[in-house]
Symmetry: C2
Subunit: 325 residues, 2 copies
């Protein structure tokens, strides 16, 4: 059975260099990389990534636990995390929890005993007790820091402020905000809270609608949109706390013959690909998803090395103006 | 260090039962599962999934290699595969190849030496030579079977036929088909080939446009859509070979004041979530994505057990009629 030393001898490079190629770490020239690959092929060596990881008790694996994958926000986040993790030499494990906190807790424990490098968790319901018992680096995305976990979130409050000021600057007087109802205190709640606060400060009328977890799971918000439009016939501006909700508001307005942005101006949240695929395209609050992925993986790396990290990382958002306002 | 035997003793069940709970295999009652979890917690046992896998040279892991994750088709496929894999007790590894055949080949070799259960590959460019050298079960999705791999694809030809017959039945005479240009022979090509064949058989005018790999990577097809509409001012029906392309046709028609379905009728392909989020919603050819995931994982399971499998699995498509026709 060929070893990494045989590869180094065949390629005429140091064992350390082969290791760097295998782990995709540090700078290696294209030429050296090709030599190492050629040597591996010549002598029939292929690494067992897991045996290596077990022997040094670090699998160079990051586990991503999400409630679902089809939601455009999660698709974009998973893609960013996978890219950033691969760039830094980590493999990515994907776990779809369907929002079950007990399964999430079980998976986290397995991650810990399996020498995973760290876990990224998008969970509304995981308990503080579980997070206190986990000793591998754990990052919560869009949830307030609890237990030993680090929190990475976008500046949701600022997002609500940007949306309110933009709609007000466009002359809107009768506003609707459509957000998601959470059982617990979530950072995303400040999107609508801040929006309402600013509108009321200016003496504007604002009606607030909150979707339920059934809407969130089915990703279908039409019934609450219909209710909001029926109850507010004079509405001239809407803030939806996700682009997914905003795309369904466009559909419902078209069915009523309401023009966007002519009759109603609309702002979404996330700036996922969908925001560029609707007709009209969406003005939205851009989440810094790439930077969220980078910050989360950097936090895992620092925690692995025993370094201190900021336990509450908040990243800036921006307003992207398109056709809907 | 607690072992699986200690867990069985503490829970008052057979070692086999604990193993079934850990591997999520076979029927276990909610009550037994709870007892086993409680016993594991009482004695502080957590399994190392990878050490277990190494000792029996099977990691119960399926590796999914996709060119990108943000594309709505891949997001839906990954979600279906992860769900089906978890249901059958497999973990899911995700690998984003960015379409690089050399990296795909390297990852496949690592999978093999790392006792992965199998690999699902969405690759346009991987070589027959590589696939001949891989001995772990490998499934190609939407690519013709080569090497030792099994192919799972939807009935692309039937999809083209359904789209053509539907647009013709709606009275369209001047048709456009917008597909993707491939360097090699791909099953998806028969979507547009069959569409053109049927339209020409009926003596109808049909103009064919093929996007380049740059369009595919950027996911932005506007320039070729603009060209197609400019060159065919009398067009009254369009078949787009993905819902992603179709959503951008809706945008471009709206900018020209062309009504869909009033002036132009439009059929997409895939039936991803996007098809229900556009305005108007999309008539489209539904890919049986859940069944593709099931067939792919079943093929991996059968190949692992040394059973024969159909090397060319073709699954039926259907037309879903919505507002765009």
């Amino acid at each position: 059975m060929a070893t990494i030393k045989d590869v180094a001898r065949e390629a005429g490079v140091a064992v350390e260099t082969v290791s760097r190629v295998l782990n995709n770490r540090g700078y290696i020239s294209e030429k050296t990389r090709d030599k190492v690959y050629a040597a591996m092929q010549n002598i029939g060596y292929t690494p067992n990534a897991f045996a290596q990881g077990l022997s040094r008790q670090n699998m160079d694996c990051i586990v991503v636990i999400v409630p679902h994958i089809v939601h455009p926000y999660f698709a974009k986040v998973i893609s960013s995390i996978e890219n950033e993790a691969a760039r830094r030499g980590y493999k990515t494990f994907l776990y779809n929890s369907n929002g079950d906190a007990e399964r999430e807790s079980f998976v986290l424990k397995i991650c810990q005993s399996s020498f995973m490098s760290g876990a990224l968790l998008f969970s509304a319901d995981i308990s503080e007790e579980t997070l206190k018992s986990i000793r591998i680096p754990t990052v919560l995305v869009e949830r307030n820091a609890i237990g030993n976990a680090v929190s990475v979130q976008c500046d949701n409050k600022k997002g609500g402020e940007l949306a309110a000021k933009h709609l007000i600057s466009k002359g809107c007087h009768n506003l609707i905000v459509l957000g998601t109802l959470n059982n617990i205190d979530m950072p995303g709640d400040s999107r609508d809270n801040e929006f309402v606060r600013i509108c009321e400060d200016k003496g504007l009328k604002v009606s607030r609608y909150r979707a339920t977890s059934e809407h969130y799971v089915s990703m279908d918000y039409h019934d609450i949109i219909i209710q909001a439009l029926n109850e507010n016939p004079d509405c001239d501006g809407i803030f939806a706390t996700s682009d997914l909700i905003a795309s369904q508001i466009i559909q419902e307005c078209a069915r009523r013959g309401l023009s966007i942005p002519g009759d109603i101006k609309l702002v979404g949240f996330d700036d996922v690909q969908l925001a560029r695929l609707t007709t009209p395209t969406l003005t939205t609050i851009r989440q810094p998803i790439h930077n969220i992925a980078v910050a989360a993986i950097e936090a895992i790396e620092k925690l692995s090395r025993g370094e201190n990290v900021n336990r509450n990382i908040v990243l800036p958002v921006s307003l992207i103006e398109r056709e809907s306002t």
